[in-house]
Subunit: 394 residues, 2 copies
């Protein structure tokens, strides 16, 4: 009897100890994020207040070109891997919560405005899949219309939009998709054919009104007014792209990195050493800013005073800071070799920059432009903070 009591008490004590491991994680999630270690199939959980790594979680598969979105409570990251893996990571328990292989080749995804639906955009087979954000149960499978090769088109540029919708670009089908996912088991899809040749990425502006898709197969940009989809797709910036010279393109710019600052969009010019400034009121070009190389990500500091730019090889060791008032480069930084991504803290006092080939993440103070912290990471690529959960178009 006494022995049984001891056993029972010990069992409870053990349970208590197990709980204790979790209890140590009792903390807010507003200052958390992940750093993708692309080659190792791992993510680091990071704390932007302490500027420290809290944990490493592995088993996420092929994370080249991986991206992530967050649950609306900030606890879970949904990581989209290149191998079609969709992994739900618990940032508090610091472990994988669920993982599914949902396609053969995937290129990212989005989460619905209400946080209930995770959408993945796939290359093979081409289409969009909608998942229950809690369980990762497949809710619907939208097969893309065929491209010239007869196969379902690759889907790119998937973004959430207000009203429980998603928008995407169909690379091979030269079309855009507007997906009403109010009923995610029976989504209603509107296709905009002849949107332009080979849309290769797209974004929703921070105010949720415009969807902008870059075109690879022709010179220009496709624009869809999400307040008036019935007006169809409009072509803008006919001199935007590669132009007549057909310059070599070392790395496709990421449109998701497009910055909108104080009503002007800052866009990476394809193949040129320039950032374009476009007035979002009439979508006309307002200026061009010469920069150090072919821009990849062009991202506004949250207060819109600065736009930060990284570059394709051979200029991938540089980051430039554009002042949005004078529209000139005010500083060139060299954070390390092969800068792949940058992410601002929610209110922009710092920016985290990944330098893949130096295996580090460097944190800069955006007021002084001085480095203030360095974290070790194994070939870091994407950096994603939980504040994305509260923003549109990510």
């Amino acid at each position: 009897m006494r022995r049984a009591s001891v056993r029972a008490a010990a069992a409870i004590a053990l349970a208590g100890a197990a709980v204790f491991a979790h209890a140590q994680a009792l903390r807010g999630t507003g200052d958390l994020g992940i750093v993708v270690e692309r080659a190792a199939g791992r993510v680091q959980v990071v704390d932007t207040t302490a500027r420290a790594s809290l944990a490493t979680i592995d088993g996420l598969g092929d994370l080249s070109h991986a991206s992530a979105v967050f649950s609306r409570d900030g606890r879970y990251a949904y990581v989209f891997g290149r191998d079609g893996g969709l992994t739900k990571v618990d940032l508090l328990a610091q472990r994988i919560e669920r993982r599914v292989i949902q396609a053969g080749n995937s290129i990212g995804g989005a989460i619905s405005q209400d946080g209930r639906v995770v959408a993945a955009q796939n290359y093979v087979p081409g289409g969009v899949k909608l998942f229950d954000a809690a369980t990762l149960e497949l809710l619907s499978d939208l097969r893309a219309p065929a491209g010239p090769d007869g196969k379902p088109s690759k889907v790119v540029g998937l973004a959430d939009a207000p009203g429980g919708r998603f928008v995407a670009a169909l690379f091979d089908a030269n079309a855009l998709w507007l997906i009403d996912a109010a009923d995610p088991r029976a989504p209603r899809t509107t296709a905009f054919a002849d949107a332009g040749r080979q849309p290769y990425d797209g974004l929703v502006t921070p105010d949720g009104r415009w969807y902008v898709a870059g075109l690879f197969g022709e010179d220009g940009v496709a624009l869809l007014d999400l307040w008036h989809p019935e007006r169809g797709v409009r072509r803008i910036l006919d001199r935007y792209g590669r132009g007549d010279e057909k310059l070599p393109v070392y790395k496709m710019p990421h449109l998701r990195g497009w910055a909108v600052a104080a009503g002007y969009a800052y866009l990476p010019a394809v193949g040129r050493h320039e950032v374009l400034v476009v007035d979002t009121r009439d979508w006309r070009e307002a200026a061009r800013v010469p920069v150090a190389g072919q821009p990849v990500f062009v991202i506004a500091r949250p207060d819109a005073r600065q736009v930060w730019v990284n570059f394709a090889f051979p200029d991938s060791g540089k980051v430039q800071v554009i002042d949005t008032e004078t529209r000139t480069v005010v500083r060139t930084l060299e954070p390390g070799r092969a800068v792949l991504h940058l992410e601002f803290t929610p209110r922009g006092e710092a920016v985290w920059i990944s330098a893949r080939d130096d295996h580090k993440v460097v944190v800069y103070d955006t007021a002084t432009l001085a480095p203030v912290a360095t974290l070790a990471a194994d070939s870091p690529s994407g950096i994603f903070f939980t504040a994305r959960a509260a923003r549109m178009g990510f």
Copy 2:
């Protein structure tokens, strides 16, 4: 010996049980918020995903006109009470973490861009106090210059600004203050005298560039360019305010509720049944929208397609929805008696509205404009969600 083991095991088990109470709170903080129960000195902790109340925390003193800001991790709310109380509330442990009485009469506060400094604006004695956000230790005490009565001026309109700064309006001293709190124990204050008669509230625009202060003692608005404070304060909207007729004002509008949507600011006209639309590129009036009463809060849905307005007595039972494209009222709602505040969820799919005299909070779907949930609350006033931690000017 055996008994000792039992005791030790039991003690550990008890410790485990104590931890378990906390462990149940292991959850993200991105979808949390508080509802102020003004008369009872309490706050409810609410969950915007479940649309439910999680806990009630009392002992916060006089909460009439109370407001709150959040720690950058989203775990703590700092509640500013009218009685000068500053209370740090732990939303996860669901209890008061710390509380200080820091003034005789206070009217709100702000938190610095990096989350390290909490600032309180005080009526009696007039000034600004800076506190360590972790400990609530007083770091500095900025006494305001005297007004006509020889006493330190009341301080209103305190807001955080990029670069570790705060901005405030000095009601009795007709001045604005720009406070550089990079060293919060030795802040540097720049005063802008003759900013206008009796600035009564102010806000920083969402992009962090402009500080806009309403004037009670004259017709117009004071504007400070935070990118160029050396240019001084400019007067705008000379026909903004009460005008020649000196209409009775039943309740001062809250400028903090001013909305900026797609480059246009929506401002409550003082004493008039109108919302003004102002182009933030040149700060000229672009339109006026007739509404049902004297507007109090004028708040943009995060995607900028709608602006929601509540009203002073006798129209305080109504809420109107303005479509920002047509600049007309598209719906009049009647959520309950004495609507005091409204707060959008981070991505705007819902809005929470407090109806003080019906002792309830009503949640509306912003797409259908239909009520989707009702929560009981004791004379609810302010509603504040943790996503504010990631935004500027709150």
